[in-house]
């Protein structure tokens, strides 16, 4: 047991934080929110040069062979700097899906390109129902000769505008869980993309498929075996969004502490008031708990272990606590941070977007409740006591 960063991990976090601090000006970050790509291509290229786009890929695919934990540190730092990037769409979603389930040809083609910063990919999972269950997937792939024809509407697709291809989950048969992932070029006839206006700096899209022809070799993984892959994708997303929320919370707390130390009212810095101090300690308390939970979730998934309990706990806690933290940050700042040129608003919006991604707090608690009723030992975790509860 050693819940501290080792030297290499501390260095990764430090250098990612330095990068995130100077990568983009606040004005550029705001401008990118209105930009269809949503991220700065040169910055993404620099991140790829630093090895971050391939941090979770093996070396044979151009990666650096580190793991989810290190990726979590990078995501945390980018969240802290409010730096938009296609890391989630391209690496966390599509890249890790291909690494896990793609054919050797798919992996050999795409992973080195992702790692080099040359390819943007994404996945399409959610639909107008908005829920994260297999029953919600209504997009349909009909057999047509050797291949399929795909129709349906997907929502909240990250970076679809910049993506070279979209990996889409669709129903491939009559059985409830007969779902399959299909990789479709973004310029395929019948595929249409529309940007969603959304808070938080991620470029989210509606993608419609109107009888899109899909060849047999576009299947990712096995036909009918798509849902377990989706569950693991969501789990990775949840753990890493929890890490991003930690970065968002850290930035909000840092801005607040700086303001509380320097803003003078009634002749003293407002940070000397106990009311303000208590708020700041509460923010720091929740942030610390969220960070430990996120670290644990990323470490478990990174080690290839079952991490439903840990990821759901991390995401459930961060999805409530960090948006609340940004509201307290605004309360302490008062009117000054209500103006768009004050950086706190970036985090206020990013917090709710990250909280909504890959399963909100309620979704995660529902998953934990299922575990609690169905598999109590797993719910209690590996430190549990196997004896009956001791009663006097």
């Amino acid at each position: 047991m050693d819940i501290t960063l080792d030297e290499d991990q501390a260095m990764i976090l430090r250098s990612a934080q330095e990068f995130a601090r100077e990568a983009l000006t606040p004005a550029r970050i705001r401008a990118l929110e209105a930009d269809d790509n949503g991220f700065d291509a040169r910055t993404w290229r620099r991140m790829a040069d630093l090895g971050w786009a391939g941090v979770v890929f093996p070396e044979r695919y151009g990666g650096t062979g580190l793991g989810m934990f290190e990726l979590g540190l990078i995501v945390e730092a980018l969240g802290q700097g409010a730096v938009p990037s296609p890391l989630f769409s391209t690496v966390v979603e599509a890249g890790l899906l291909l690494l896990e389930a793609g054919s050797e040809a798919q992996r050999a083609h795409w992973l080195p390109r992702i790692a080099a910063g040359g390819a943007i990919l994404t996945t399409a999972l959610l639909e107008p129902g908005g829920a994260l269950g297999s029953a919600q997937v209504r997009a349909c792939a009909q057999r047509a000769g050797a291949g399929f024809r795909l129709s349906g509407t997907k929502l909240f697709v990250r970076d679809a505008g910049a993506a070279a291809a979209i990996i889409c989950l669709a129903r491939s048969g009559a059985a409830a869980d007969d779902l399959t992932w299909f990789m479709i070029p973004a310029d395929a006839p019948g595929l249409a993309r529309r940007r969603l206006q959304a808070a938080g700096g991620e470029s989210l899209w509606e993608v419609t498929f109107a009888d899109v022809a899909v060849p047999a070799d576009a299947v990712v993984g096995a036909v009918g075996a798509g849902w377990p892959l989706a569950e693991r994708l969501l789990l990775r997303g949840a753990a890493l969004k929890a890490a991003e929320l930690v970065g968002i919370g850290q930035a909000s707390l840092d801005l607040t502490l700086e303001y509380a130390r320097t803003r003078v009212q009634f002749g003293v810095p407002i940070g000397s008031f106990q009311g303000v101090q208590h708020h700041c300690t509460e923010m720091y308390r929740d942030l610390t708990v969220c960070r430990l939970l996120a670290w644990q979730a990323c470490a478990r998934l990174g080690a290839g272990r079952d991490g439903l309990r840990e990821a759901a706990m991390a995401k459930a806690k961060a999805s409530e606590a960090i948006p609340a933290l940004t509201r307290t940050a605004h309360q302490i700042h008062g009117a000054v941070a209500y103006y768009r040129d004050y950086p706190l608003e970036l985090y206020y919006h990013r917090a709710i977007a990250a909280a909504a991604a890959y399963g909100d707090a309620g979704h995660q608690r529902r998953a934990l409740a299922g575990l609690m009723r169905g598999d109590l030992a797993r719910f209690q975790g590996e430190h549990r006591h196997d004896l009956p509860v001791h009663q006097g």
Binding site: M1, I3, L257, C280, T281, Y284, T288, V289, Q380, G392
Partner: protein, 393 residues
């Protein structure tokens, strides 16, 4: 970064769990449980159990080998504290945690040689004499005084200490007194180890709302040799502050919260008279899940703190933060437990229809002290803001 116990740490935890399961049988519980005591066990059993802990090598396992300690990392210490709390075992208090830790860091060589071996054998019980009627959160306002007798070099202590946990069963007091009233508030304080059998020591009782008896200690011209002073004359504030950090680290263990969670899960999962389970109620599920998440945060804080110590990083405000998290979480469990028991919640221990032996109601009352003792919640928030976050005083 490693969230798992090493094989050796896991083996140690299994050993401690086996020890506590063996020692604290249902028969032992029935015989020695005593709700009239702060520790919920009879003083005699608490003292006997502490000797067993000593014999098993569980006291001082993190101390240097030169004083008979086990030289093990703080992670082992945290595991032991964790399990002791989970089993609600007697004897895990200042006597084996922070007083000897402070003595180790700040005591004279002679004090360490004479007292630490006895501490490690589990022979000594201590009370801490900090608080006074007029000096609580503002401890520097303490008035009990010691005057040096120039003829012998002894110090003569006179004054009152209040809220003195377990003073009635203590062999020694760890007592802060004013030794130079002319100096500023934070100076002019010295720390003495006081033999509680000395003439002039008198103990009085106060019943608490929790049902157990608390104590106050009066010193009337109690003569203490200079050799029992800890640290330098008039530099006792530093000793007090150092010891408070040790105290908070020991109190910030996870075990109590883990026990609360398991007990509630078991109770909610059991079939009731009408054939339903509390656990089938979605609102109960949501509350239990929320509690479990807070519990997990508490557990990680405990072991994060131990990891920082094990790395020699000397956490300070982090310790206060971990204690705040632990105690707030434990209180949340107290409240939720009482609510879930519904109409049975207020039934007291001994009532024929009491659920969980009435323990939840006992604990709801008892642990009110979490909100104000050893640094109340609000004072702790100030401490973290000022010492940890750099906000101005």
């Amino acid at each position: 970064m490693d969230f798992d116990l090493t094989p050796d740490e896991a083996a140690f935890r299994a050993e401690v769990r086996a020890f506590l399961t063996r020692e604290l049988t249902p028969e032992v519980w029935r015989e020695h449980r005593d709700l009239g005591e702060q520790g919920m066990w009879t003083p005699a059993f608490t003292k006997a159990f502490r000797r067993k802990l000593g014999a098993a090598g569980y006291i001082g396992m993190g101390w240097p080998r030169e004083y008979g300690g086990g030289g093990r990392s703080r992670v082992y210490q945290a595991i032991f504290w964790d399990e002791m709390e989970y089993f609600r075992a007697p004897g895990l208090d200042r006597s084996i945690t922070y007083v000897p830790n402070a003595l180790l860091a700040l005591g004279t060589e002679q004090q360490k040689q004479s007292l630490l071996p006895r501490v490690m054998r589990g022979e000594l019980s201590w009370f801490v004499g900090y608080s006074e009627p007029e000096a609580g959160s503002d401890l520097a306002g303490l008035k009990a005084a010691a005057v040096e007798d120039p003829a012998t070099g002894d110090f003569i202590i006179t004054g009152q200490k209040s809220f003195s946990s377990d003073a009635h069963m203590a062999d020694y007091g760890w007592v802060a007194v004013r030794t130079d009233p002319a100096m500023s508030r934070h100076r002019g304080i010295s720390l003495f180890i006081v033999d509680m059998t000395l003439p002039g020591v008198q103990i009085t009782k106060y019943p608490t709302l929790a049902g157990w008896t608390h104590h106050a200690v009066y010193f009337d011209q109690v003569r203490v040799p200079r050799s029992m002073m800890v640290g330098e004359l008039n530099e006792g504030w530093r000793v007090v502050m150092g010891a408070i950090d040790f105290e908070r680290a020991a109190l910030a263990s996870y075990g109590l919260v883990g026990f609360q969670l398991d007990r509630l899960l078991a109770w909610c999962g059991a079939e009731r008279a009408d054939g339903t389970r509390k656990l089938d109620d979605p609102l109960v599920q949501d509350e239990l899940v929320r509690l479990a998440i807070e519990g997990e945060g508490t557990r990680l804080m405990t072991y994060w703190l131990a990891s920082l110590h094990a790395r020699g990083l000397m956490p300070q405000h982090e310790t206060s933060l971990a204690l705040l998290v632990k105690r707030e979480t434990a209180r949340r469990f107290d409240v939720a437990g009482l609510e879930m028991l519904g109409p049975f919640g207020p039934l007291r221990a001994g009532s024929p229809w009491a659920e969980l032996e009435g323990d939840v109601e006992v604990e709801y009352r008892d642990r009110l002290y979490f909100q104000f003792a050893a640094g109340g919640f609000d004072i702790t928030r100030n401490v973290v803001a000022q010492r940890g976050l750099g906000l101005p005083r």
